[in-house]
Symmetry: C2
Subunit: 195 residues, 2 copies
């Protein structure tokens, strides 16, 4: 098992993502991944410890990438509300642009409870980001001080994930990113008439 991330390593990762998204982790076979990558079955074991390791590396790689973009997006916002808007838009946009990733994060990750801790789940860092944003909003006066932050952030993340999940289930046939603003409006002002 070699260490340095070569071109072949990335090729295998992408192929695996493709096959996992199509068949799901358990039904996907090593042979399918190898064939998709254009290499022999045994070659995968020069780059990865085992099948699970491929999934781990895939998700960690994708998570890191998405996190960087999310952080950058949040930085751009001048106040809490803007930061939230950028974050949600970034989230939807990244998943829209990488459907394999969207499928895998939606279907596979929760399934691996035993390696869940090894996987840098989007959720963890995401929730921290949201905490910061909400607390800033409270300081700025744009968000209610009596918010139960632990609940509010979970509610925000749950709602985006739900929207993405529906989109994936529908085959990704409509534009996801354009739901960002309507969604943030719901977060901010709710469904109640502002009477």
């Amino acid at each position: 098992m070699q260490k340095n991330k070569s071109e072949k390593y990335n090729n295998i990762l992408n192929s695996a993502g493709c096959v996992f998204a199509k068949y799901g982790f358990h039904k996907a076979t090593i042979s399918q991944i190898a064939s998709q990558a254009g290499v022999a079955d045994g070659t995968l074991y020069l780059y990865f410890k085992n099948k699970e390791d491929i999934l781990c590396q895939y998700t960690n790689y994708k998570s890191d990438m998405v996190f960087k973009k999310m952080h950058a997006a949040v930085e751009k916002g001048k106040n809490a509300e803007e930061k939230l808007r950028h974050l949600i838009r970034c989230h939807l946009s990244e998943f829209q642009n990488d459907k394999d990733m969207a499928v895998i994060f939606r279907s596979e990750i929760r399934y691996f409870r035993d390696i869940e801790s090894q996987i840098k789940d989007i959720s963890k860092v995401y929730l921290e980001l949201l905490s910061e944003i909400i607390e800033q909003g409270q300081v700025e006066g744009s968000m209610r001080k009596d918010l139960f932050v632990a609940l509010a952030k979970r509610y925000i993340l749950g709602a985006v994930e739900g929207v993405i999940s529906t989109w994936v289930f529908a085959g990704g046939r409509y534009d996801l990113e354009s739901l960002a603003d309507p969604l943030v409006d719901l977060y901010l002002t709710g469904v109640k008439g502002s009477i």
Copy 2:
């Protein structure tokens, strides 16, 4: 494979729920389920077509039960807001009282994309319920007329599921049902200060 739902049938279903929740569908073995139910491996095949069928029957059974309670709960509400409150409270309460079910609905269902259609997913009927409630709220004037209903209902469901998911992940150690009212308040008025 006999048809009438005997005591043994239910016994096996419950045992399966227990084992699936503990190990996950794929790692759970027929032997484990049989032993938990106190019968021989072969006996399972007198009552179920195969392993997947056990999961299907389990989820359908649970879904039916929960739906009935949800409908009853919604009926009790006099207006849209009350109905929403009852629905969310019922949802949280049912999952809190059946942790195995909560785990299975959280982790396993999304995984089976090929049989997803056979499974009466909580989501489908749930979303219909929410549509009705929101539309009623709009008529009553308690909810904004400019809501994008398809998004709003997805956002509500996503948020509850997220809250339940976190609870499951934390090992179900805190009271879930008491989050119902704070959650509905978020739905209704959002995180913004009502300035």
